[in-house]
C-alpha cells in the first residue's frame, strides 16, 4: 500500500490563515465593516472575504492536503502544486480587497481589480481542486467522509464560479442582464455555497473521521451518516442549482434557499445524532482539548441554526443575519478550526521531529508538545467573546461588539502562541526534547519523507 506522508505546505497555509484571522479580528476591533456599516457595504465585504477566503478557506485547504490522503489511505497527487495555489489565492484575495476598496472610493475606479481578483482566485482554487480531485479520483470507491469532501469541492467550484461572474459585472466587463440579476440577488447563494457547501460540509465529513480517530470511537458508515451525506448534498443542490437560475431570471433565490434549508435541517439532524453517538460511544473516556472544544463548536452550529429559525419565524432575517453569520463563522467554523489546529499542529510537528527517532530510544508523546490546562483557558475566553459578540450584534451595541472583538483578538493571539510553542517544542521537557534521531521542524513547511 502506498504510504501517506506529511504534507509539505500545510503549515504555510496554516500560518497564512492565522495571519488573515488576526487581520479580520483587527478590522472588527477597529469598527471596520458590519455592524458599523451596512451588511452589504464594501467594508463589510472586505471583512467577510478576509475571514472566508483568507482565514477559513486557507485553513481548510491546508488541512485537506494532509487529511484527504488519510481519509482515503492514498497519497496526495502533488506535493508541489499547493505552493503556487497559495500564492494565487493570496494574490487573488489582495486584488479582491482592492476591488472592494474601489467600491468604497479609496482606489481609482478605472483599475481592473475585480476581474484580476476573479482570475487569480479561480486559478488558485482550480489548482486546489485539481490536486485534491485527482487524489480522490485515484482512490475510488470513496469512503463516506471523502464523499463529504467531494461535495464540498463541488461547492467551492460553484462559489468561485458565481464569484467570478460578480467580478466581471463589478469590473464592468459584462452588462449581460442575467449576470446583473445574479449580482443583485444571488449573493446569499454565493454565501451558502461557500460557508455551508464548502466550509461546513467538509468540516462535517472530516469531523466524522477525526473525532473517531482522536476519541477511539467507532467509524460510522451506517444509514444515519449516509442520510446526512445524501440529504446534505440534496440541500446544497436545491439551494445552489435552484438559486442561481432563479437569481439570473430575476425571480430571486428565496424559495430554493428555503427549500434547501428545510432539507439541510434534516441532514444536520442526522449529523447531530451521529456526533452525539461518537461522543457517547468513545472508548477514550478522558478526551483531549481538541475534542472538547470541537463539541462546543458543534453546539455553536446548533445555536446558529436555532437563531436563524427564530429570525425566519419572526421575519427578522434581514435585520439580524449578521449575528447569525458571525456566530456561524466564528463560533462554529473558526472554533472547530482552532480546536483542530491545536491538535494537528502538535501531531504534524511530532511526526516531523520524532518520527525518525522511533525505535532508537524513548521519545516524547504528542501530548508532551502541548500544555492543555494553560491553553484551554484561552479557548474558553475565545468562545465567551463569540457568544458576547453575538449578543451585542443582536442588541445592536456596536461598541460592545468592538470591545469583545478586542478580547477575542487577545485570546486568538494566545492560542497562536500555544501553536508556536508546540511547533518550536518549547513545552517538551529539556531532558527528552532531542532524543537520538530527532530533528527540529521548520516553522512554515515540512520536510517530506518519501513514502
Amino acid at each position: 500500500m502506498p504510504g501517506v506522508t506529511l504534507s509539505r505546505w500545510t503549515m504555510s497555509y496554516f500560518a497564512a490563515a492565522l495571519i488573515f484571522l488576526l487581520i479580520a479580528e483587527l478590522l472588527m476591533v477597529a469598527g471596520y465593516g458590519y455592524p458599523a456599516t451596512a451588511i452589504a457595504a464594501p467594508e463589510t465585504l472586505i471583512l467577510v472575504h478576509v475571514t472566508a477566503i483568507g482565514w477559513l478557506s486557507l485553513l481548510l485547504c491546508g488541512a485537506l492536503y494532509q487529511f484527504v490522503p488519510v481519509l482515503i489511505a492514498h497519497p496526495i497527487h502533488s506535493q508541489t502544486l499547493p505552493l503556487p495555489a497559495l500564492a494565487f489565492l493570496i494574490a487573488g484575495l489582495g486584488a479582491l480587497i482592492a476591488g472592494f476598496l474601489q467600491l468604497a472610493g479609496f482606489i481609482a475606479p478605472h483599475a481592473l481589480c475585480f476581474p484580476v481578483a476573479g482570475f487569480l482566485l479561480s486559478i488558485g482554487f482550480a489548482l486546489v481542486l485539481w490536486n485534491l480531485g485527482k487524489t480522490l479520483w485515484a482512490a475510488r470507491p470513496l469512503t463516506l467522509p471523502a464523499r463529504f469532501v467531494t461535495v464540498g469541492l463541488l461547492s467551492i467550484a460553484a462559489t468561485v464560479l458565481i464569484g467570478v461572474i460578480f467580478t466581471l459585472v463589478l469590473g464592468g466587463l459584462t452588462e449581460h442582464g442575467h449576470f446583473i440579476n445574479l449580482l443583485q440577488s444571488g449573493v446569499p447563494v454565493h454565501a451558502v455555497a461557500g460557508l455551508v457547501g464548502w466550509l461546513t460540509f467538509i468540516a462535517m465529513g472530516v469531523s466524522y473521521r477525526l473525532l473517531a480517530m482522536f476519541m477511539l470511537a467507532p467509524e460510522l458508515d451506517g444509514p444515519t451518516t449516509r442520510s446526512a451525506l445524501y440529504l446534505g448534498a440534496a440541500a446544497l443542490g436545491v439551494a445552489i442549482l435552484g438559486g442561481v437560475p432563479a437569481s439570473m431570471a430575476g425571480i430571486g433565490p428565496t424559495i430554493p434557499l428555503l427549500m434547501g434549508f428545510a432539507i439541510g435541517l434534516l441532514a444536520l439532524g442526522f449529523y447531530a445524532r451521529d456526533i452525539l453517538y461518537l461522543y457517547r460511544t468513545r472508548r477514550r473516556r478522558k478526551i483531549e482539548l481538541n475534542s472538547r472544544m470541537a463539541a462546543i463548536a458543534v453546539g455553536n452550529l446548533a445555536a446558529a441554526i436555532v437563531l436563524l429559525i427564530a429570525l425566519l419565524i419572526s421575519d427578522n432575517v434581514d435585520r439580524y443575519i449578521g449575528a447569525v453569520v458571525f456566530l456561524f463563522a466564528f463560533g462554529w467554523l473558526s472554533g472547530l478550526g482552532l480546536a483542530k489546529l491545536y491538535k494537528i499542529t502538535a501531531f504534524l510537528t511530532w511526526l516531523e521531529c520524532y518520527g525518525p527517532a522511533l525505535g532508537k530510544g524513548p521519545t516524547p508523546r504528542v501530548q508532551d508538545l502541548v500544555t492543555e490546562p494553560r491553553a484551554i483557558k484561552w479557548f474558553w475566553l475565545y468562545f465567551a467573546t463569540v457568544w458576547c459578540g453575538t449578543i451585542f450584534l443582536i442588541a445592536e451595541i456596536p461598541l460592545g461588539f468592538r470591545i469583545t472583538s478586542a478580547i477575542m483578538l487577545i485570546a486568538t493571539i494566545a492560542i497562536i502562541n500555544e501553536l508556536l510553542r508546540a511547533r518550536r517544542l518549547l513545552d517538551v521537557k529539556a531532558e527528552i526534547r532531542m532524543p537520538k534521531g530527532a530533528s527540529s521542524a521548520h516553522l512554515l513547511y515540512a520536510q517530506v519523507k518519501k513514502a
Binding site: 501517506v4 488519510v70 489511505a73 492514498h74 477514550r284 473516556r285 504534524l348 511526526l351 518520527g355 522511533l358
Partner: protein, 110 residues
Amino acid sequence: MSPEPAEDTIAQIKTALRFVIDPELGYNIVDLGLVYDVTVEPDGIAHVDMTTTTRGCPATNYLREGAEEAAGSVQGIASVDVNLTYEPPWTPHMMSPEAKEHFGIVDDDP
C-alpha cells in the same frame, strides 16, 4: 533445538518494540496491541506483523521503520522484516490490561 533461545529473543524484541510509541495515543505499540506477531528464524531473521490504529495514518512509515530499528537492535538479530497488515483491523480491545486501564477502557464496552 530447544525453543527457549528463540522465545527469549522474541521477548527481547517485544521489550525493544516498547520504545516505539503510537504518537497519537502516546503509548507503546506492544501494549496497544498493534504488534500482532513476532517470530525469529534460526538464522536471525525476525518477522514482525503489525498494524496501525487507523488505515492511512501519516505515522505509518515512521512506525514501521521504528519497529524495524528497535527489533534490529536486539542482539543476534541479523535482519528484520516488518509486515504491515490490516487483517484483522485493530480495535481498542486488543490493548493489554495496563493500556486499557490507562485509557479507561472497560472490557465489556461495546
